[in-house]
């Protein structure tokens, strides 16, 4: 099979042509911050804007999720310009995130914490103002809770749900700052359409969708 070779952060890597740079990096244990990427989803949504990298010969940073790897590509995930953008994007997200790690079910298993560590950035932004929305929490599903105040609008749950149920339980509503991940006609998640497969909770990178006490299907359960 035909392959291409490229360099990421000095590491020589071979990949299949046409593969997305973000995937290739992650598969080769090179972490690039990301929230909206899903392994099996063919088209990137490119909405979280956190996977900016620098490519030799290119002037501006680009999102790794939208770039096809090509032969001889030289990538720097640690470039100053790219990291400045990633930090800015991350800060924007955190400025509108109901930060409360100590009481959050995702604590220790949260992509936002991981990104903060990677960027050596604080979870609390000082530069921007806190803009929280204080939306109601949806507790109606027997298995899990949805706290929109922790949602980063990555769309992962929306996508996996559509893979399972054609019409999907989830979707986005409203525009601009008011955009929110919600259910059709804002009905409670617990209503009949949900199959309780809870895959949405598995893919949620934050504590927005989280299992209720004792409902996490853990390995110990069998």
């Amino acid at each position: 099979m035909k392959t291409v070779s490229l360099t990421i952060d000095g590491k020589k890597i071979t990949a299949r042509p046409g593969e997305k740079l973000l995937r290739v990096a992650l598969e080769n244990s090179i972490y690039i911050p990301n929230l909206c990427a899903i392994r099996d989803k063919p088209e990137p949504s490119a909405s979280c804007r956190l996977c900016f990298v620098e490519i030799e010969g290119g002037e501006e940073p680009v999102t790794a999720c939208t770039i096809d790897v090509t032969e001889g590509m030289v990538v720097n995930t640690r470039g100053e310009k790219a990291l400045a953008l990633v930090r800015a994007g991350f800060e924007l997200l955190m400025a509108s995130h109901a930060l409360d790690c100590a009481h959050c079910p995702a604590n220790g298993n949260c992509e936002l914490q991981k990104i903060a560590r990677h960027l050596k950035a604080s979870l609390k932004t000082k530069r921007l103002r806190l803009l929280l929305r204080e939306l109601p929490i949806d507790d109606s599903n027997p298995l899990f809770t949805y706290d929109p105040n922790k949602c980063v609008l990555c769309g992962r749950c929306v996508w996996v749900c559509r893979q399972n149920i054609k019409s999907g339980v989830f979707g986005f509503a409203h525009r601009g700052f008011e955009r929110v991940m919600t259910t059709f006609a804002d009905e409670p998640i617990g209503a009949d359409r949900c199959l309780d497969c809870s895959q949405c909770v598995e893919v949620c990178p934050t504590g927005a969708l989280s299992f209720k006490e004792g409902k996490r299907p853990s390995t110990e359960d069998g």
Binding site: P44, A46, A84, G89
Partner: protein, 635 residues
């Protein structure tokens, strides 16, 4: 073989054209014709009543005088506009017409021989009797190419368009190889009028050469910029020019279907396109075997949802597909995988309206106007503090000064020019020092603005630049689709900061962090909306930073516009004892006379509505705005 095909189309068209021309001659033969502008701008000013008045009058007096509806001539400030063409006279354009004037015009001009000069704006041709448009200073700069028909033909009569040379280009196209049409458009150097100025020929070529049999051409008529209405005007006034452009584009790229994506808020444009499509189909200019050739093409009208972001090409395609109208990352380019995943060309209304003219008149004719890298004309919608609001078409390379002061007749009420906002919410605010800039795609980019849709809002000394930036950002924040982080959250953050500035809150460092955030949103956003949303901020910071500083450091709005930073004050030595016009005008009873019968505003009561300022008689002119409010003398 090729030659036979060519003659079929040409011959078929020849017949249509002959008929149209003879009907057109008949219309004008030996009788007066009254043309009433009934595009949206005319209607808003009362054109339907004027139209009815003319029709009633003509009927009552049993005159042989057709009364026809035409589109918008661009002189929107003077609507309702009527053109009367009477044998022995040059065609005369009347402005601010009402039913009473209509009656007089019929009585005195159609029946008599008094052209009523008091209502005339200008004659359309040079003559000894009346001033003509050619004598106006604006005529020196205006050059109507795509607006040429607007206001001069009945948009619901395909024969009017044909009689003026319309569909000639299509007949010619059908006898030419598609590649050659693409080549011709490429050579013309035509750039897209939807905002970014992408070379049209190159876009067509990408699409034509993309693999696959199914391709689409989409006409982008979303026009969501506040204050922009040139696309609406063209669709209402000369729909066939756009349709012909689309058919030619379809032929060139190899499309069987085209879509017109039109704002649902444009009912009149929708109606006129529907009529136009029907008429084109009837004459076999659309549909199967167009003009007897082997080319089949149809146009589907799609009503947009009215979201600004749906004007972005990928969001627009998603919207037609029935998906949420949010942009997707590029690549793949639309010309590789667009509507329903097929190679697609998206072109603006104006772009397509240029096509028939270029094919008909040739590349040299087209490149004879405009600048080297931006050939042709630019259409602007003049609005704001300018005497002649309306549509103008000038060659690319005309300076802002010429457009604003000569074509637009400058700033009303003797006020001073301050800035011009070009390109709507994605554009920038340019100061006086930029007035001599020859306007084209590239020059605007260099100074931080963009051509955008062609909205041009003129601002004077009473406009606060911080407030202007805030106003546009409020729009983009509301219209952001919210999909991507920078645009969704960054515009909101910036809006909050600007809201504070207009209230005098904030620190000087906030200006720098605003500028930095603006740069980040520009670089980080997914689509053009977010990438350009910071432009109003960045340009006002670049050219009017002192105004930001005054707001923050002094709590002062130099333009006296920001409500929180001004106070109304009655100058004691100007106030007339015997007058109390302001007292009664105040809605919250904040004004009362003091012992000397001088009126005083209770600042704690005042809601800063400004009614009193308007109520104070001009001979006293005793009420002023002060900023900061602490300027008001204590007692």
């Amino acid at each position: 073989m090729k030659v036979i095909k060519q003659t079929t189309a040409a011959a078929a068209f020849h017949e249509i054209k002959e008929r149209a021309e003879s009907h057109w001659r008949e219309l004008w033969h030996d009788k007066p014709v009254i043309m009433v502008g009934t595009a949206t701008c005319g209607r808003a000013a009362g054109a339907p009543d004027v139209l009815q008045a003319f029709r009633d009058e003509v009927k009552k007096r049993k005159l042989d005088c057709p009364v026809i509806e035409v589109g918008c001539m661009g002189h929107c400030y003077a609507e309702p506009i009527v053109i009367i063409s009477k044998p022995g006279y040059p065609p005369i354009c009347y402005g601010y017409v009402n039913p009473v004037i209509a009656e007089r015009l019929v009585k005195e001009f159609i029946l008599g021989d008094n052209p009523c000069p008091e209502f005339v704006i200008g004659a359309l041709e040079a003559n000894d009797l009346l001033p003509s448009f050619d004598d106006f200073p604006r005529a020196q700069h205006e050059q109507k190419i795509i607006l040429k028909n607007c206001g001069h033909i009945d948009p619901t009569e395909i024969e009017h368009y044909i009689a003026g040379g319309g569909y000639n280009a299509l007949a010619k196209t059908l006898g030419t190889k598609p590649e050659d049409i693409v080549e011709e458009v490429k050579r013309s150097g035509l750039r897209g009028r939807g905002g970014a100025g992408f070379p049209v020929g190159r876009k067509w070529q990408y699409c034509r050469e993309a693999p696959g049999r199914t391709k689409y051409i989409i006409c982008n008529a979303d026009e969501g910029d506040p204050g922009a209405f040139m696309d609406r005007s063209i669709l209402e006034s000369d729909p066939h020019s756009v349709i012909e452009g689309m058919i030619i584009a379809g032929y060139a790229i190899g499309a069987r279907y085209g879509y017109i994506y039109i704002r649902a808020e444009y009912p009149l444009a929708v109606e006129r396109i529907q009529i136009a499509l029907k008429q084109a189909k009837k004459l076999n200019l659309l549909g199967n075997h167009i003009l007897g050739s082997s080319f089949n093409f149809d146009i589907i009208l799609f009503h947009g949802s009215g979201a600004f972001v749906c004007g972005e090409a990928t969001a627009l395609a998603a919207s037609i597909e029935g998906k949420p109208g949010t942009p997707r990352p590029k690549p793949p380019r639309m010309t590789a995988a667009g509507l329903f995943g097929k190679p697609t060309v998206v072109n603006n209304v104006k772009t397509l309206a240029f096509i028939p003219l270029i094919i008909r008149n040739g590349t040299e004719w087209f490149t004879g106007t405009g600048t080297k890298n931006s050939p042709g004309t630019a259409v602007f919608a003049l609005a704001g503090k300018i005497v002649n609001t309306g549509l103008v078409e000038v060659p690319m390379g005309t300076t802002l000064r010429q457009i604003i002061f000569e074509v637009g007749s400058g700033i009303p009420k003797g006020k001073k020019f301050k800035a011009v906002q070009i390109g709507g919410p994605s554009g920038g605010c340019l100061p006086e020092s930029a007035l001599d800039l020859p306007v084209d795609f590239d020059s605007l980019q260099e100074v931080g603005a963009i051509m955008g849709s062609g909205g041009m809002v003129v601002l004077d000394e009473d406009d606060c630049m911080v407030e202007i930036a805030r106003y546009f950002l409020e729009f983009t924040q509301r219209e952001s689709c919210g999909k991507c982080t920078f645009c969704r959250l960054g515009t909101k953050q910036m809006l909050e900061v600007l809201n504070d500035f207009t209230m005098g809150k904030g620190a000087m460092e906030d200006i720098d962090s605003l500028e930095r955030l603006a740069g980040e949103v520009k670089a980080g956003s997914l689509c053009g909306l977010g990438q350009t949303a910071p432009n109003p901020i960045l340009t006002t910071l670049r050219y009017f930073r002192d105004e930001y500083e005054a707001h923050i450091e002094l709590g002062k709005c130099p333009a006296l516009m920001c409500q929180h930073l001004i106070a109304y004050y009655i100058l004691p030595d100007k106030c007339e004892r015997s007058c109390d016009a302001c007292v009664g005008s105040c809605t919250v009873e904040a004004i009362s006379p003091n012992k000397k019968r001088i009126k005083v505003i209770d600042q704690t009561q005042c809601v800063k509505c400004g009614t009193c300022l308007a109520a104070c008689p001009p001979q006293y002119n005793a009420i002023v705005k002060l900023s900061p409010p602490s300027e008001v003398p204590a007692k």
